[in-house]
């Protein structure tokens, strides 16, 4: 398949929709968690307000080129992930640039933003940034194990790495979904998802409630605005990816919103129930049940 | 004790080897091919009445040259070894002089012993005996001289000159064989004469005399070196 310039506007439209979904979810989720904690919580449009605020603050500080580029890398990573993702199955308009790559591209694209972000944060010179990165990297190395095993299992099951083709193979009812045809892989994958969604018990990387730790420590104003934009895109991209791999994909925007919302809520709910792990604890945890499930998933192919 | 037991076992093992050796030996009635050649052709070729001498000096002359060399090497080693390690102590050991009678008597005997030695080696091609036997007799004369007079110093230089000269002559005669006769140490560089006469067998008596002198000189040199060793208290 070759590049068609008409893809560009449609892809951008898809991006905007995804972004909107992301902003929406990010408004709803704190509300739900607050309610679960017997609090009132924020307004669901609070993320929009924050975003406008961040972008309207004129920052006049930079720590250097890499610091400057960090958020750029971050957002580029998130946006590219959407652009390489077939959002709506069967739709030419919203299949984006999926033909340029496959599952492997997606997996490695995830690191593009992470690495750039980490580097940018690094240049700020703040030790907490570096500590956060170090924790995040350590955690991701093990969270990837069940994920990779699960994905290999699914790819072997469908004999393809192409996301589009995996979705195609799941059409025709729930009984064709990977969730049903390969439940062990799905379980392993979903457990792996917990590790990358920055929710408790695996959110020591950012440690959101205490002193600001993690890559964004030194970022503010427009920089933070860009990163916040990414926060509405990147998780959705991941969720959509899981939806495509395990839950039959989506044939229209409604299904997409529904499925991605449900998948998004899974780590949120887990986070509500379980307290936070230290990094070494979470590493050990991933090396137990999730990894065994992953191995089982591969073994059953 | 264990060591001795092991030694016994080992000797037993050697005994086994020797026994096999003994069993395997060929029980010949006549001479070997080589020996037959020596006994048949030896007297004719070398004109030496003593076949053993012809073998020792001519056919297997290189052995003999080697053997002289060994003696020479031993004497040299003992010489430089003892001399060098004694270097530190210049003081001469004072030895008790023996009685006048003994000294005089020995002075009488020593030349006679030397004469006997010379007789033995010049007749080596005719009778049992030869250079080594003669040389050994000469050296026994030196022993007597030392025993009778521990500070005996006579002939030291002569010994060294003899040692060198006789060796060089030996080699020289051997080389002469290449030019004048059929090969190294060939005895036919001189007229060979008749078997049994005193002047016969070509170079054999000459070589045997040289050997006699050489052996006598070497052994005496060893005796000198040993005599010069300082006593340890």
């Amino acid at each position: 398949m070759n590049f068609d310039p008409m893809k560009i506007p449609w892809s951008l439209l898809g991006l905007v929709i995804v972004f909107t979904i992301g902003m929406f979810i990010r408004g709803i989720v704190p509300k739900i968690t607050a309610r679960a904690g017997m609090r009132i919580g924020i307004r669901f449009y609070q993320p929009w307000i924050d975003l406008i605020k961040h972008f309207s603050i004129q920052t006049s500080i930079t720590h250097g080129v890499m610091f400057y580029l960090g958020p750029v890398f971050r957002l580029t990573g998130g946006v590219s992930m959407i652009l390489f993702m077939p959002l709506i199955y069967g739709s030419w308009y919203f299949s984006n640039f999926a033909f340029a790559g496959d599952m492997v591209l997606f997996l490695y694209m995830m690191f593009f933003g992470t690495l750039g972000m980490a580097l940018g944060a690094g240049e700020s010179g703040h030790p907490y940034s570096a500590i956060g990165v170090s924790r995040g990297l350590a955690q991701v190395t093990v969270a990837e194990i069940p994920l990779v095993l699960a994905l290999l299992s699914v790819a072997a099951q469908h004999n393809t790495l192409s996301i589009t083709e995996i979705v195609a193979a799941q059409q025709g009812g729930i009984s064709h979904w990977t969730m049903v045809t390969n439940p062990v892989a799905t379980m392993a994958g979903m457990l792996a998802l917990l590790g990358s969604m920055m929710n408790s018990p695996f959110n020591v990387v950012l440690a959101p409630q205490e002193i600001p730790v993690g890559p964004p420590t030194e970022y503010h104003g427009t920089f933070l605005g860009i990163m916040n934009t990414n926060r509405s895109i990147f998780p959705v991209a991941k969720v959509v990816f899981f939806m495509n791999i395990f839950f039959g994909g989506a044939t229209n925007w409604g299904i997409l919103i529904l499925k991605s919302f449900i998948i998004y809520m899974w780590p949120v709910f887990v986070g509500l129930v379980f307290p936070r792990f230290r990094v070494d604890q979470s590493i050990r945890w991933f090396l137990k049940v999730p990894m065994l499930l992953g191995i089982l998933a591969v073994a059953l192919i | 004790m264990l060591k001795k037991l092991f030694a016994l076992i080992l000797i037993g093992g050697l005994g086994l080897i020797f026994f096999q050796l003994y069993n395997q030996r060929s029980r010949r009635e006549g001479l070997t091919k080589t020996a037959s050649y020596y006994t048949e052709k030896g007297p004719a070729e070398t004109r030496s009445a003593n076949i053993v001498t012809s073998v020792v000096v001519t056919y297997r002359g290189l052995d003999t040259l080697g053997e002289v060399t060994i003696l020479f090497a031993a004497a040299s080693i003992i010489g430089f070894f003892l001399k060098r390690s004694e270097k530190g102590s210049k003081d001469k050991t004072i030895r008790n002089q023996s009685s006048e009678l003994l000294q005089t008597g020995s002075m009488l005997l020593v030349p006679l012993i030397f004469l006997l030695g010379i007789y033995v080696f010049v007749n080596g091609h005719l009778s049992p005996g030869g250079g080594f036997q003669g040389g050994a007799i000469i050296a026994s004369g030196t022993v007597l001289a030392f025993l009778a007079n521990p500070s005996f110093e006579g002939g030291r230089t002569l010994i060294h000159i003899l040692e060198s000269l006789s060796g060089m002559f030996y080699v020289g005669i051997g080389v002469a064989g290449i030019f004048l006769a059929a090969g190294f140490l060939d005895n036919r560089i001189f007229p060979t004469g008749n078997v049994g006469s005193f002047i016969s067998a070509g170079a054999i008596p000459v070589i045997y005399s040289i050997i006699g002198l050489k052996v006598g000189a070497e052994l005496s040199a060893i005796l000198y070196s040993l005599r010069d060793t300082k006593e340890q208290q």
């Binding site: - | 030694a7 003994y22 006994t39 053993v52 297997r60």
Partner: protein, 119 residues
Amino acid sequence: MIHIALAGGALLIFIGIWGMLTKKNIIRIIIGFSLFDTGLHVVLVGLGYLKNRTAPIVDADLPAKAASSQSVDPVPQAIVLTAIVIGLAVTSVLLVFALKLYQSKNTLDINKLRDNTND
């Protein structure tokens, strides 16, 4: 005759080796070597002996023509002559070594005459 010579030679060899392997005093060890050597010489000569034959010297009793049929083997005799001298030289060098060893360590015990400075 030959058996006696060979057996005697072998016995001397064994005694010599016994001395070399068991005696502590190096002078005795050298004597052992000397015995060993002598035993060899006896065996050498004994092996060349042939029954009812005479020394290989041509004279009135042994005409040159009869030499090969009536004399003993001259080769071992020639060899033993050389061997004896060699043995003498070796023994003399050994004795000088013994002398020097004694002078440097004041003992003749072979167990004490070794170099313990090996690392």
